[in-house]
Every structure is written in structure tokens, then in C-alpha cells.
Symmetry: C2
DNA sequence: ACCCATTGGATACCTTCACTATCTATGTTA
DNA sequence: TAACATAGATAGTGAAGGTATCCAATGGGT
């Protein structure tokens, strides 16, 4: 298909598709002539993925590019793809001037018995968030976090269960990314509704 | 204290504080003369809150203002504050042109037996995210989500437990906001590490 | 074989956001 | 009283994410 059909089928304007091509979010089409290129379903799929990551999760164009590059370069090693991709998807917006003190987080991970890369960005995210909360007077420590971590373990089991039974490694890697990144707003929405419910329950039970 | 001291104690530049004052993120100081105003600890506290919300969670200035306005206007009714404040903190960046179909989500909430406002924005967020995932070929439905929702329930219990034993209603409302909003990156970080651990576990167990 | 809308590629422009800098009149402090 | 700080107003900045316009080269319909 040509660019206008790609635009029509994805709902993304031609100029924006050109912009994504310039930015390397989409691989160039197969050139058939000096002013003609052919796009296929892979492009359409990727374009939809780009819109999901930038639109639903609000990822920046450069972050999206990094994530997609990791996805296509290391397809097959789902474990590795997730590690690379998720490192790029910052959980917090904080641009850490000095690397945060992760000793406490490291101790928590050890106590949990988790096998997690020493350099995993999630460690830093967790440490930063804790520091922020404390500076605002909220008392949170490893002890507070432990039950949350146990629930996270069970969430992760559910997540990984969704990945079984897929043959195509590209599809597996892509689904892993989608489940990790796009499911986040959904889980937070569930949490907020559960909070509202629990708050109402306690309020009326008095 | 005067503005320069507020700046020094918060680490935020004087010009930025002036900007926040203009934007209504900080209430004006007590004017002592035509070109002099006095700020207090409330200002400092609020300024730190602003930096946490915009920095750690990446909230926009206008969203932050809405959240803080809800906080100060309805202090005392923690339940209400959370409903108002969290409505403003969008979980997804999607600017929904047409309101999404929430029938399925509504059915899930009913099945869970949750008491959740009919107009809660979390319903729309959940519906949008589901629609997004499906359009990308990920099979998610109410059945998939139910176990996640049960874990969210237990997370909410932990959350609400953190709010007990606080006397000052302002402090309670503020902490509720912080726990809901600022803890999100922390919980997602825990989930990612748990995923990595679970992935490693399954990989080596084969 | 011809014509004109479509295309690829390049470049310039636009809008929003979150600051940042500058200016002026007024206050404070040593 | 001289040097510095402050409030308030206005204008400017830089990044991000597109959007608009040009141009030469097609290529499907006639």
C-alpha cells in the first residue's frame, strides 16, 4: 500500500506519518521509484503500536523509538527485550541529577528473594519515589513496601501467564511490552476504584 | 519569610516561584507593603507538594492546580477529595474525542461488588485501555481482569491502612493524595521487578 | 501519449508548555 | 544614603510534537 492508504487505515495524517519516518519510528517503505514507496501490514501494525505508546501512555517520540528498536533488534529473547525496553520507559519524570541511594531498595529486593538485575532502572525509580514521599512527611520504608511487593509478585504471575501459548517470538515480545506498559493505566484505574470502594466500606461500617 | 528564603529552603528559583504564584499554584503571600510580601510554612509545604506532583509524576501545571484546589477546598472529606483530585489526574494521556463504551467495565465493577461512582473517570480510563489493547490484538476481557482486580482490592486495603491514626484532616487528605498519586510509580516499579524475577524463574525452571 | 493528482523528500513554520529574563517602582538594610 | 531585595508586569526562550508548503518525479485514467 502507499502512504495515503496507510494514513487512511491508521487514522494518522500523511504529514504525521512522514514525521514518524523522519524520526525513525517507522522503517522506510520499500522504494519502487524515486517518488514512490510501498508499505505493508508491518508498517500498519507498527504505526498502531506507536500511537498506543505515545497516546495512551504518553511516551515521548524518542522513548518510543528506543523501545521499538529494542523490540525489533532482540526479538526472540523476551526476557532481554523487556529489560531493555522497560529501562527506556521511565516510570517517573524525574531527571535524576545524582543517582539515588538504592541501598535500601537493594536490601528489600534481597529480602524478597527476587532475581533482579543490579542495574535495573526500576530500583532507581523506587528509591527516588521513596525519597520524595519521605521529604513530604509520609513515613514509608521497606516494611511498608513488603506487602505491596508480595501483591506485585502475584500480579507478575498473572502477567506472565498471558504470554504462554504464543508461537511467534515477535508477537510474544510485542505482547510482553503491551502488557507491561499499556496495562499500567488499567491497573492504576483498578486500584483507584478499589480505593474508593474500600474508603466507602470503612466509612459506612463505622 | 520572604520570597528569597522560600526559594532557598525549597530549592526552587525565585522566578519559578513567581510563575507558580501567577498560575495560582501557590496562594499569594501576606502583603506587608507595595513591594513586599510574607510567606509561611504552608507556602513551603505547598511548594514542595507542587514539585513532587510535577516532577515525580509529571503532572502538568494546570492539572496540579486542579488537584490542589480540590485539596484545599474540601479538606476534611477525604473520600470526596480523593474523588475530585483523582478525576483530575488522568491515568492515560488519551484525549477521548467520544466517551468510550464503559458497559463492559460497569459489568465488571458490578461483578466485583464494588461501590464506585458511576461517573468515576477510572471507568473511562479502563475502558479506553482495554479498547487500545484489543485493537493491537491482545485478548483482554473482564475474565482476564478479575484476578487483577482482586489484587487491587488488597492493595487498596494497604493504602487505606496508611491513613489511619492521623488527626489533622488536611494532613489526612494530603497523605491520601500522595499515597494514591506518588505511590503509583513505586508500585509499577515493584511490578516490573517482580516480572523480571518471575520471568527468570520460569526460564531457569524449564 | 498526455495530463494532473499523488508521492517522497526537504525545509520552514506553528503551537503549547514550563519556565526564564528583564524592567520598573518601591522597600529594606547597613 | 547607597546597595540590594522585592512585587508585579511583560516579553523571551527552548524543547516537543506536529503541520504546511515546495518541489521534482511519477503513473493511472483517458
Amino acid at each position: 500500500m502507499r502512504i495515503s492508504e496507510l494514513s487512511r487505515r491508521s487514522g494518522v495524517s500523511v504529514t504525521t506519518i512522514k514525521y514518524y519516518l523522519r524520526e525513525g519510528l517507522l522503517p522506510p517503505g520499500r522504494q519502487t521509484a524515486a517518488t514512490q514507496a510501498e508499505y505493508d501490514d508491518q508498517h500498519l501494525r507498527r504505526l498502531r503500536l506507536v500511537r498506543a505508546l505515545t497516546g495512551v501512555r504518553g511516551l515521548s517520540v524518542s522513548t518510543t523509538r528506543e523501545v521499538l528498536d529494542a523490540l525489533t533488534e532482540h526479538t526472540g529473547d523476551t526476557h532481554l527485550v523487556l529489560g531493555l525496553a522497560l529501562g527506556a520507559v521511565r516510570l517517573s519524570d524525574e531527571t535524576a541529577a545524582h543517582p539515588p541511594e538504592t541501598a535500601e531498595v537493594d536490601a528489600l529486593v534481597k529480602e524478597l528473594g527476587w532475581a533482579v538485575n543490579e542495574a535495573a532502572p526500576a530500583r532507581a525509580t523506587l528509591a527516588e519515589t521513596l525519597a520524595s514521599l519521605r521529604s513530604l512527611g509520609v513515613p514509608v520504608d521497606a516494611h511498608t513496601l513488603l506487602p505491596y511487593a508480595r501483591l506485585a509478585e502475584r500480579t507478575a504471575v498473572l502477567d506472565l501467564d498471558q504470554l504462554t501459548g504464543l508461537d511467534d517470538p515477535l508477537e510474544t515480545a510485542e505482547r510482553a511490552l503491551l502488557l507491561t506498559v499499556l496495562l499500567e493505566p488499567a491497573l492504576m484505574a483498578l486500584r483507584r476504584m478499589a480505593q474508593e470502594n474500600e474508603s466507602a466500606r470503612r466509612h459506612t461500617a463505622e
